[in-house]
Symmetry: C2
Amino acid sequence: MPKQAVKKMPCCDDTSPCSLPTDQSAEQIAALAWAIAHPARVRIVRLLISRNTCVCGEIVDEMPLAQSTVSQHLKILKESGLVQGEVDGPKVCYCINSEKLAALKSLVASL
Amino acid sequence: MPKQAVKKMPCCDDTSPCSLPTDQSAEQIAALAWAIAHPARVRIVRLLISRNTCVCGEIVDEMPLAQSTVSQHLKILKESGLVQGEVDGPKVCYCINSEKLAALKSLVASL
DNA sequence: CCAGACTATCGCATATCGACGATAATCAAT
DNA sequence: ATTGATTATCGTCGATATGCGATAGTCTGG
């Protein structure tokens, strides 16, 4: 995960001819891209998109991964904000955070 | 890098109600997303986009990273196909592969 | 309250990332 | 050929990702 302490980001200073977006933007893109930088997470995201209704552990059934592993990926997706989890009784329903997804699309499109 | 051997991807089989794109597509997205899943690489990509002219080791000057580290990131970007390197004398000019970039945008947009 | 189902978390192992310095490799020019 | 500049690669280190089984936590229903 790109969480290394970036020493300094001397971009967009006087010596640099770039009018690039802020570094914060770079980290935003990196963080969101990171969330979908694994096939399993792409599949999960697509699964959640395809089912307008939030799904829960059914995700596990769709994936060739152990439940704990899927849960781990869901955690990563939740941390990225792309996915939201909502407790529904003993189950947990996950759904796409459309705003975050739109933000990801927008950020990538504006590259 | 998500290069782990995926055991099997029983998606889109008879038991699954998904008409999702192929898993290959998931790996494509994951691979491209991975390339920009690091702030430094996002910055490099933007730098290459902003300068229509290909840049070379000037990238190093723009980044708070060691030359070897930048070279490593460039290698990753090259492997993803997002960036192309062209030897120009003792220097190496890098430039964006517009097609790959477009593919990335398209893939993300079609999520 | 207890049993059952569902999910999250904990360890653990392995593999890779990300960073760096040091070193090799490459090319132009002298 | 040698030098100088530029870039790639190597080796190392710490941190993290990824996978799993096992376990703990949580909630519902009887």
